[in-house]
């Protein structure tokens, strides 16, 4: 069986996975925490059925207008370099994904997260929580105003520092499209020693690095970085017929 899956005479799309050599593995030995946490057995193939090709569309009811501006919190302005982070959410067919909830979280300018387990002695910023949410528009566009996150140490190995990054979480439209990822900044000198970045196969790494955008950089206010996110697209094969000879 290739191509379509029929369910009670309905055509279901199939969301293609890229081959393993282009995807991030679940575990990576140099990232020590994966040793006891990344499953060791080969996952079982689950044919995509109704549960897998549907998914929640969690819209604007959980996003407030100011959620897209991380630089204004608790009655004041965050410290650090303001940056506009913007882009589009597309599927691998190049189609925009509208109404997609995009959640971001990140360290502040000093490299410190507002989180109880973060003990790095970088200063906390009372006006930066590091959390943002936005829903993509009809063309899949999103944007955040935020502060460029600092690098921070994390104890994975001697003198281990994470490259500056922003965490992204996206649902897409189907359970199969769910993605949690990290956006990096161009030319970061820490890429070479970061196992979380290095775990990404060579040819896919560039996809996690944003592009400096002079076009959207705001005079006398903020730098800009563009980052487009590509979710899994639907299979391109033509319709197939079911056992009755009808189009499924």
């Amino acid at each position: 069986m290739t191509g379509t899956t029929s369910a009670s005479g309905l055509i279901l799309p199939r969301y293609l996975r890229e081959p393993a050599e282009k995807r991030t593995p679940v575990g990576f030995p140099n990232y020590r925490s994966t040793a006891l946490r990344a499953p060791l057995r080969t996952p079982v193939d689950l044919p995509q059925r109704l549960t897998e090709v549907t998914g929640p569309v969690l819209g604007e009811d959980r996003v407030l207008p100011h959620d897209a501006d991380l630089t204004l919190r608790n009655g004041g302005e965050a410290v650090g370099q303001r940056i506009l982070v913007y882009g589009r959410v597309l599927d691998s067919d190049g189609r925009p994904v509208p109404d997609a909830l995009v959640e971001v979280w990140q360290a502040n300018a000093s490299g410190r997260y507002r989180h109880v387990v973060d003990t790095f002695p970088g200063p906390l910023d009372p006006h930066f929580d590091g959390l943002g949410r936005v829903v993509t528009d009809s063309l899949g566009r999103y944007e955040f105003m935020t502060i460029k996150p600092g690098a921070y140490p994390w104890g994975n190995h001697h003198n281990a520092w994470r490259p500056a990054h922003i965490h992204f979480s996206l649902f897409g439209r189907a359970f199969t499209q769910r993605l949690v990822t990290q956006m990096y900044f161009p030319g970061d000198p820490l890429f070479g020693q970061d196992p979380i970045y290095q775990a990404i196969p060579d040819e896919a790494r560039d996809r996690t690095v944003s592009r400096f955008s002079l076009e959207r950089t705001q005079d006398n206010w903020a730098l800009a970085f563009e980052w487009n996110i590509v979710l899994r697209g639907r299979e391109q094969t033509p319709f197939e017929t079911d056992d009755d000879g009808d189009v499924a």
């Binding site: 029929s6 369910a7 309905l10 279901l12 293609l16 890229e18 282009k22 995807r23 991030t24 679940v26 990576f28 994966t34 040793a35 006891l36 946490r37 499953p39 060791l40 996952p43 079982v44 193939d45 689950l46 044919p47 109704l50 549960t51 090709v53 549907t54 998914g55 929640p56 569309v57 589009r88 599927d91 691998s92 067919d93 190049g94 189609r95 925009p96 509208p98 979280w105 997260y113 590091g130 959390l131 063309l139 899949g140 965490h167 359970f175 769910r178 949690v180 979380i196 990404i200 196969p201 896919a204 996809r207 996690t208 487009n228 590509v230 979710l231 697209g233 639907r234 299979e235 391109q236």
Partner: protein, 221 residues
């Protein structure tokens, strides 16, 4: 042909059409015109970005038939993982999905959204939900009631996916195409056990033979 630059996206203005019946946008000749964005771990600070007050409520509090699914996530040393996130997605009791992508139409079931997100920060996750109905399996049969589950955590670079089935659905489970493809041992790891106020479903990211723990079956979707 050289690999397309993933950042050089076409300026498509046609939005994603839920269930239009059209496959693809018509201008592609190859699979994966754009390389997908690779996943990354949620890291240790996921509670900043991914906590929702209503996260655990797939069904509203007073919904008739609602119950709790609770469980723990264990690592390969048999230790409880307190910084994981569980997400669940499922059909409503009538077998419909609260999704515009359901080709049978987006279902609405009173007080039910079908999705929940919970952390394991207390050592245990919990989700309040309803028993999903049976949905077609695409092969002429019906699937057993099931919930799709994503597990995210520090130390996992790509979410892992499993399914919850229910111990009190033995007949349906026996007919389920997914369960039938698994060994008895594997199947056991997917069955939620009945409790006083719902079900218990533990996730074992790896086997821990010292403690008699088997690795949960995870799926490639």
């Amino acid at each position: 042909m050289s690999a397309p630059n993933p950042l050089d996206v076409p300026d498509v203005t046609e939005p994603y059409q839920p269930r239009s019946g059209q496959r693809g946008s018509g201008f592609l000749t190859d699979l994966f015109q754009l390389g997908t964005t690779p996943s990354a771990t949620v890291g240790p600070y996921l509670a900043i970005g991914l906590t929702w007050e209503d996260g655990v409520w797939a069904a509203a509090e007073v919904t008739e038939g609602g119950f709790w699914i609770r469980g723990q996530v264990f690592d390969g040393a048999g230790q409880v993982v307190p910084d994981a996130m569980i997400e669940t997605w499922q059909a409503d009791p009538d077998g419909g999905f609260a999704s515009p992508e359901d080709p049978r139409g987006q279902a609405t079931y009173p007080g039910f959204r079908g999705y929940a997100r919970a952390s394991t920060i207390t050592g245990e996750y919990e989700v309040f939900t309803l028993k999903p109905g049976r949905v077609p399996d695409g092969e002429g049969g019906l699937q057993a009631p099931h919930i799709d589950v994503s597990v995210f955590a520090r130390g996992i670079l790509d979410r892992v996916v499993t399914r919850i089935y229910f111990a009190d659905e033995a007949d349906a489970n026996a007919e389920d195409a997914v369960l039938r493809g698994l060994s008895d041992e594997q199947r056991r790891t997917l069955i939620a056990e009945k409790t006083d106020d719902g079900y218990r479903f533990d996730v074992h990211l790896q086997a821990c033979t010292d403690k008699g723990m088997d690795e949960t079956v995870f799926f490639a979707v």
